[in-house]
């Protein structure tokens, strides 16, 4: 989540779901929280009970809208215009929380003179290189900030992903810069913001989003009123924002809005990133991603990081702020992984870490697979044949593998692609031609194994094993441990130099039981960290050292197991409303991040009603209802000396301690690949022109990955005139492996359907309950038609735009089967996190079932051309 990372310092939700109960207004956008996070939604209901106004902005009237006070339908893919409109409204009506903005954001920071905004350059910021389709971000820096040489500054040019930037922008000496605390300077970030968003008027919102002006103004007024010393408002979003080609910038817009309204670090405020799966937050904290190491340390890149540990540390640590401790975290990680083999003389084994050489993101490697560059694949807890974009490409790519391992508790479409898939049905693939060797491993379910979930709000919760897994089913822990053990045994015998790292790797967890199940507690202890001399557990990450005397598997989790037998993720006695005593939230069990901002610069609460953390003059310490997210004994009036470094360089009134300048970033000078401010582009398959920059229909930095198997329509392609959006239903779980196979869930939503408006149904002759065929440049599927006034057409730039809603749970296996909505999607990459666009594409719809056979398909194609 580089958007949250660059804006505030950490790539995680800033608040806890429980705290939503304290909000005066909650804006839910890019999410159907009631449907996809029903348990957490109880806190929204609690807020509603206490008098908060719940606002849902969504193209569809969903079960979340049904619980909201206000529902405003907005065309999919126009989020930045809506949020930009809110930002403009706040700035133009002087509704920003002035004191907060002045002290706690970089509003006063003066930007460089050679910086240009998209309005001046027809849709791109300064630094744009048309040839490489990339930015060089020098002009986005603060005025007066010492420039680092290219050799030291982490580049934007590499193929790498952006998750490394979850940590809050890139290294720098940002604390040294020019500023104007009066906010008068024309180039201070505040005035640049005002200039940039000047065009995002209510009229623009109306014509681009299809939201009538009055409705927009109603939302703007209500949400901006939830601001100031006495009030706060929260924003909840989910993948309805993330999965856009401008996803990171959509979230950035929300961050800017919340900083302007003073809603970060305060009770009832925040940006709540609702994660899509049980432990997705955990899977970036201790990552399954290719471009970061545990605790949001960047994965070393070939060329830029191929050299020594010292250079790598210099590049990625920071002179001021928390990341000045980077060396301690990376060395402790290397010690945890390589044990005694990690010595100062060999850079603690830094060279054993693989280097990123290209786009090894999920989308990148499917392309590699398609090109036959990959031999094998492990699929665990995922069903890409149904759940991933462009299903046809995914399934065909699988057929090019030499071997495939699927670990599941049912045989999913990913395991069965070779004999049961649309490609087999159409004759594009033949079982006898597929050479992929497929290993299907039975997996234990969550009640059959011990482990933990790290949820949406960074809360780590341990779950015990209730029953033994049946037969050959095993836990992931078991599988990974024994796989590693066997690989190490093989590596020992092999003479390849590449085995050195594997040979050095510590892989000695104790096991128990008849199947030699690894002891989870031992893994948690390693994650927590220990002193290498005596394996004594460290209290938390402040004890970590850069000299090899400590080891720690993930520094942000350090403190989770401070003593033997004391796994705090297993805590089960909540003692306050924030849930302290239940589970463990990283970092340091802080439930609301940046909570120093809940007090005024002088350390007193902004108001009695919204007090959370404050300075206790008697105790000379920060105290309150949450664990202070600040150096406990740094008084509010502390001012750093000119040459101060690390945390010493952060003044006593700077709440965003991860940032070198200690403030929240309205303007992101480095760390994002598509600009320092959000700006509107249409989706990669736009159905209307970009009203702001006609020359730039879509995000110029996004990668379309266009190829014959992944084709696109033209911008405003008349063959595909409607907006297509995909989503989930409460009744099913993602790609359906865990729900389509269970009768009690399958019967609740027993068939694949599309949701369309009565107006659309009438115009295209689609009958409620009948079939509709939906077509994109990638695929063709059929679904039952659910015609409902909960869907409605949008008036956009003088034309009527229809939306087709598709839940994406179905595939060819299980009790309820159906076509996969994801077969229509394209594989493409948002530039920062390399996620695909699933929420706004272009499609064609017609009544009836999909054509079967070559001739019928050709006939349909001809008809589409004709109608276009």
């Amino acid at each position: 989540m580089p958007s949250l990372g660059t804006s505030f310092g950490r790539g995680g939700a800033t608040t806890a779901q429980q705290d939503l109960a304290n909000s005066d207004a909650i804006l839910i956008m890019g999410s159907s929280m009631a449907e996809n996070h029903p348990v957490g939604f109880q806190w929204v209901m609690e807020a509603r009970k206490r008098g908060a106004t719940i606002i849902h902005v969504d193209p569809r009237f969903t079960r979340t809208s049904a619980m909201a006070d206000i529902w405003v339908p907005m065309r999919s893919g126009s989020d930045i215009v809506f949020l930009g409109g809110l930002i403009r409204y706040v700035l133009e009506s002087g509704k920003e929380f002035r004191e907060y903005v002045k002290h706690y954001t970089n509003a006063a920071t003066i930007l460089r003179e050679d910086m240009k905004l998209p309005d001046e350059l027809e849709g791109v910021f300064s630094g744009w290189d048309e040839e490489t389709s990339k930015y060089s971000p020098e002009t986005w820096l603060y005025q007066g900030e010492p420039e680092k040489s290219d050799a030291v500054r982490p580049g934007h040019a590499q193929a790498g992903g952006g998750h490394g930037k979850d940590r809050g922008g890139e290294a720098g000496d940002l604390h040294k810069h020019d500023s104007d605390p009066t906010l008068q300077h024309p180039r201070c970030a505040f005035n640049v913001l005002r200039r940039h968003f000047a065009r995002y008027t209510p009229e623009l919102v109306e014509s681009v989003c299809g939201v009538p002006k009055e409705q927009f103004l109603k939302v703007a007024e209500i949400f901006s009123n939830a601001s100031g010393p006495e009030k706060t408002g929260a924003i909840c979003y989910a993948v309805g924002w993330t999965q856009h080609s401008t996803g990171v910038q959509i979230i950035r817009a929300a961050c800017i809005l919340q900083l302007l309204l003073g809603n970060i670090g305060r009770p009832g405020g925040g940006v709540l990133a609702l994660r899509g799966h049980a432990s997705i937050q955990g899977s970036t904290d201790i990552p399954t991603l290719y471009d970061i190491l545990p605790g949001y340390s960047p994965m070393p890149f070939w060329e830029s990081d191929a050299d020594t540990l010292e250079q790598y540390i210099n590049r990625h640590s920071s002179n001021a702020g928390w990341w000045s401790n980077f060396d301690k975290y990376i060395v402790s990680l290397l010690k945890a992984w390589y044990g005694d083999q990690a010595k100062k003389e060999n850079d603690f084994g830094f060279d054993w870490l693989p280097r990123v050489t290209g786009d090894h993101s999920e989308l990148g490697y499917w392309m590699d697979m398609m090109d036959g560059k990959m031999e094998g694949l492990f699929v665990m807890g995922q069903n890409p044949a149904v759940g991933a974009a462009n299903g046809r490409l995914q399934r065909k790519a699988l057929s090019k593998l030499k071997w495939l391992v699927v670990r599941e508790f049912v045989e999913t479409e990913t395991a069965s692609f070779w004999y049961d898939s649309p490609e087999i049905e159409r004759g594009e693939l033949k079982p006898e031609d597929i050479a992929t060797e497929i290993f299907f491993f039975p997996a234990a379910s969550h009640v059959e194994k011990e482990g933990s979930f790290t949820n949406t709000q960074r809360l780590i919760q341990l779950h015990q094993k209730a029953i033994d897994p049946p037969a050959d089913c095993r836990s992931e822990t078991w599988f990974m441990y024994h796989l590693g053990r066997r690989m190490k045994a093989k590596a020992k015998a092999g003479l390849h130099p590449r085995n050195a790292g594997l040979n050095a790797l510590t892989w000695d967890y104790p096991t128990q039981g008849p199947h030699a199940e690894p002891v989870v507690d031992a893994v948690v202890c390693e994650i927590n960290g220990y002193k290498t001399a005596n394996r004594e557990l460290v209290r938390d990450y402040t004890e970590l050292q850069a000299d090899g005397s400590t080891a720690c598997g993930c520094w942000i989790y350090s403190g989770i197991h401070p003593q033997p037998g004391m796994n705090l993720a297993n805590s089960r006695k909540p003692k306050d409303y924030l849930g302290h005593g239940w589970g463990y939230a990283w970092p340091s069990d802080r439930r609301i991040l940046y909570n120093r901002a809940s007090a005024r610069p002088d350390g007193k609460p902004w108001s009695e009603r919204k007090k959370l953390v404050w300075w206790d003059e008697n105790k000379r310490a920060w105290t309150g209802h949450d664990v202070p997210d600040f150096k406990k004994d740094t008084p509010p009036d502390y001012r750093p000396a000119q040459e101060a470094k690390g945390m010493e360089a952060i003044a006593g009134d700077m709440p965003f301690i991860m940032h070198p300048d200690g403030v929240g970033w309205l303007w992101v000078s480095s760390g994002l690949k598509d600009g320092p401010l959000p700006t509107h582009y249409e989706p990669l398959e736009p159905v209307v022109p970009n009203a702001l920059y006609p020359k730039r229909p879509f995000n110029p930095t996004a990668e379309k990955m266009e190829r014959p198997e992944n084709p696109y329509g033209f911008p405003c392609d008349k063959r595909f005139p409607h907006v297509l959006t995909t989503y989930r239903l409460t009744e099913h779980h993602t790609a359906g492996g865990m729900s389509r196979t269970l009768s009690h869930l399958a019967e609740l939503q027993p068939e694949f359907f599309c949701e369309i408006s009565p107006e659309m149904a009438e115009e295209f002759g689609i009958v409620h309950g009948g079939y509709a065929t939906i077509i994109s440049p990638r695929g063709i599927i059929e679904a039952r038609a659910l015609v409902t006034p909960r869907m409605r057409p949008f008036a956009v730039q003088g034309r009527r735009v229809y939306e087709v809603g598709l839940p994406y749970h179905w595939g060819s296996r299980g009790i309820t089967t159906g076509d996969s909505a994801n077969d229509l999607l394209a594989l493409n990459e948002e530039p920062n996190v390399r996620i695909m666009e699933t929420k706004a594409l272009a499609c064609f719809i017609r009544s009836g079932r999909r054509p079967r056979g070559e001739a019928a398909l050709d006939e349909l194609k001809a008809k589409m051309r004709e109608s276009a």
């Binding site: 009631a34 449907e35 029903p38 348990v39 939604f41 109880q42 209901m45 509603r48 719940i54 606002i55 849902h56 009237f61 079960r63 809208s65 049904a66 619980m67 909201a68 006070d69 206000i70 529902w71 405003v72 339908p73 009538p212 009055e214 409705q215 109603k218 239903l729 409460t730 009744e731 009768s743 009690h744 869930l745 399958a746 019967e747 609740l748 939503q749 027993p750 068939e751 359907f753 409620h768 309950g769 039952r784 659910l786 409902t788 006034p789 909960r790 009790i815 309820t816």
Partner: protein, 261 residues
């Protein structure tokens, strides 16, 4: 004496997640109803039946711009989890000839499956159409109010699973009081169409699972004037007695007349 317990199902708090429906089926080991896409909103299990003891009803009205479902002016999409009402005067219990249906120590109405003979009298006697015969084994089934869980001091599965406290479980008196407060609260927020469904003035004499809904209760399968069939029994017996009496008198008169001939 155990406390008399009840359900308060508050549809204004229901998010339509169907967790109650699934939790009920899981706990009570009920079968699936089959895969029937209804096209009726998101409701594909239709109604209560022998294998569905909690059922979430989806009521759709065309939404209006700017109005969420919690808007006082318009309840556009509402959900309500239906369940056996456990009537004060239960039609099914009164109709049951075998004594299979009993009232428990919690004041709830319980079908003892080992005694039920499948006569179906209860099915026609229920004013809410709740109880249904399982065609496979012939016996009648409905919500047990989780008698087994209650005996063990636990909350019924549906209320336990509900994430938004839309289904509340507790002592009947307390729930009634809470329902009253909740209605007042909703009215004070401008939702004057919110009502408590608890037919105390009919022969049902009140129910142990009552509902807060918005708008006409009929759209939630809640009849405005539910009556138990036995109220017609008195009249029925009266008519029968009258008929028998008249028959006797007629016969007697006929004999009298015959004597004269």
């Amino acid at each position: 004496m155990s406390t008399v317990t009840g359900f308060l199902t508050d549809s204004t708090l229901c998010i339509g997640c169907k967790a109650c429906e699934v939790a009920c089926k899981e706990w009570n080991d009920l079968g699936a109803d089959g895969l029937n896409w209804s096209g009726f909103s998101y409701d594909n299990t239709g109604a209560l039946g022998h294998s569905t003891w909690r059922h979430v009803k989806f009521v759709e009205h065309p939404p209006e711009l700017g109005h969420g479902g919690n808007s006082p002016e318009l309840a556009s999409w509402t959900f309500s989890s239906d369940v056996c009402k456990h009537c004060e005067n239960a039609g099914c219990l009164e109709a049951c000839p075998t004594g299979s249906i009993v009232r428990t120590e919690f004041g709830t109405v319980y079908v003892q499956p080992d005694i039920c003979n499948g006569c179906s009298y209860c099915v026609v006697a229920c004013p809410f159409g709740v109880i249904q015969r399982n065609k496979e084994d012939g016996r009648a089934f409905k919500c047990t109010f989780c008698y087994d869980r209650q005996r063990a001091g636990r909350t019924p599965a549906c209320a336990h699973a509900c994430p938004t406290e839309s289904i509340k479980f507790g002592p009947l008196d307390e729930l009634r009081a809470e329902a009253g407060r909740r209605i007042e609260d909703l009215h004070s927020k401008g939702m004057h169409d919110a009502t408590l469904y608890d037919p105390v003035d009919t022969s049902v004499g009140g129910i142990h699972a009552f509902f807060i809904t918005r708008g006409d209760p009929r759209q939630y399968n809640l009849p405005p004037q539910p009556e138990i069939p036995t109220i017609y029994a008195k009249q029925g017996w009266k008519s029968a007695a009258l008929g028998a009496g008249m028959l006797a008198v007629g016969t007697f008169l006929a004999f009298l007349g015959g004597g004269k001939r």
